[in-house]
Symmetry: C2
Subunit: 325 residues, 2 copies
């Protein structure tokens, strides 16, 4: 009898310590905003045995052929099973496995579904993970990647022509085609994120030089207290500025300089890392792009997210909170 089902499930979950709910991080953003690179860096640092990472761009309602007859792009919520995505996020957030649909972005068809089992941390990346309230409520930390639009276009053209077999002209046409859905459904998610990360070329710097990053740290979650480390020594690497967000609400804007000296950046990184009470040394895996290049702004972004993931884990597991610096 269904009345008893949920009670049994709750009792089972309570009795099974492995069913403790995982920490949920959302990484939202438009196509080629850097979601996969950021996620890969976090997985590398925490270890793939502790992190489940899931891309939620597979909940398409239609395959590529069917979409040709339809007026919207895959960015449109009506083009996706948003309610099933919500359901799967809820299940994962309560420590349960899901059978996730798999959309083959090469062939544009659906493949064999994949069993996703939650680990300590779950990173959900994709185009629309923050689109609905119910989905947002599943997360402990929400991030929106908001690179300068010119930079994102450059990244998308480079990736889609190198790895997905399109010509640059095709990618540019697709960007135009998607623009109105992106404006209507992707970019509004920015307003709901705890952290907004904006990579941009250094002002007045060389075109191919290192990028800077600005992290908006919204007061929706308890951020690390950076005031102690942001002394004169650190200011070459990063500075914190009280600002007003687009909606006029107060926000901390942490600017990480692209051309900072690596030693100075690393001093800041070590400080944040130490504040987590983690025994190990600062991981070498931070800030690595595509296995070779390295970005200090990316490293610091990852570190702030690791701070939140580890703090959330302490909260979730009901242990004593670690000292915040």
């Amino acid at each position: 009898m269904p009345e008893k089902t949920m009670a049994i499930e709750r009792a089972k979950a309570a009795a099974d310590p492995n069913k403790k709910r995982p920490v949920m991080l959302a990484v939202a953003g438009d196509s080629a905003a850097g979601k996969t690179t950021l996620t890969a860096g976090l997985v590398r640092t925490l270890g793939s045995d502790r992190v489940t990472s899931v891309c939620v761009d597979d909940y398409h309602r239609y395959d590529r052929e069917e979409r040709k007859a339809l007026p919207f792009t895959p960015l449109h919520p009506d083009c996706n099973y948003i309610d099933i995505m919500e359901q799967h996020l809820q299940l994962l957030s309560t420590g349960r496995s899901i059978l996730k649909p798999v959309y083959d972005h090469k062939t544009g068809t659906f493949g064999r579904p994949e069993l996703i089992e939650p680990r300590e941390f779950i990173i959900i990346e994709g185009l629309l993970p923050l689109h609905t309230e119910l989905a947002r409520e599943c997360f402990d930390i929400t991030v929106y990647l908001d690179p300068a639009e010119e930079l994102r276009r450059e990244w998308k053209i480079r990736r889609d022509s190198k790895k997905r077999g399109y010509t640059p002209e095709q990618v540019i046409a697709e960007l135009e085609h998607r623009e109105s859905d992106a404006a209507a459904f992707i970019r509004p998610q920015r307003a709901t994120a705890d952290i907004v990360v904006r990579f941009a070329p250094v002002e007045g710097g060389p075109e191919e030089g290192p990028l800077s990053a600005t992290l908006l740290l919204r007061p929706t979650i308890p951020h690390p207290d950076l005031s102690k480390i942001l002394n004169d020594d650190a200011s070459e690497a990063l500075h914190l500025k009280l600002a007003r967000d687009d909606d006029n609400k107060p926000v901390d804007a942490l600017h990480v300089h692209g051309q900072a000296d690596r030693a100075r950046s690393q001093a800041v990184e070590r400080h944040i890392w130490k504040s987590l009470g983690v025994a190990q040394d600062l991981p070498e895996s931070l800030g690595v792009i595509n296995g070779d290049a390295r970005s200090e702004p990316l490293a610091i972004t990852e570190l702030i997210l690791l701070f939140h993931m580890i703090q959330s884990r302490i909260r979730v597991r009901g242990e004593e909170p670690a000292a915040v610096p």
Copy 2:
């Protein structure tokens, strides 16, 4: 934050009358036991706009190629995502949609998943819907189809060689191959069903003649009171006998004669139908097999299940219970 997610979901479900939970019927049994025929009869009678029917034999963990290297048959629970099947049954039983995996039994591979939306009634048929306690608790009514084994073999050989492209020899070999898993995992479900239906040739009757049916009505759900209609007139069509089940527990055994006069059977059918308080006439769709042949025992089996489905619906919707005869 996940703590709030379930509360939101509950509030939404309570506010939305369409989310009232459906009536859940399980039809379990071995391959070719008659599950699809029985389900089709119920859907035809209730109307496909009111019934969602789902086959749960698609939750395979491995495709046909992978299974060749494995020691078990698709009947083995380890060969299936039983926990995901349980989860989907729970979701459906609380009025939520699922994205069901689809296994193509012709090619032995996985296809595009299918959105299943609950209607007033949900019929779940398959090999293992009653295998676990959690799955069983999702149902209002549970049925196990238990045809005489010789009859089931005959049905399976006929169907698989006519419709699935196997030779009779291949089907017989497959039956042998599956026997130990069937004994270990399929047949034990019989003990958990509210109703066990056994079709068998009429004793001493012609080999190709009409079949009789014995329905074990276990006192686990409130069956219709048949005592009033089982008078001398009816006894030619069916009789009820107090019996002991395999486990020695008391049970009502309703025997429906295969060679009963159709007019007499229909008098009984009309009586059960009337007791449901349904305005319409006795549906013509009852007892139809493959669109042409007709079986009175099948009609009466369907009618008893319809009785339970409609009674459960009254309970679920919180309306006044209809008078039970």
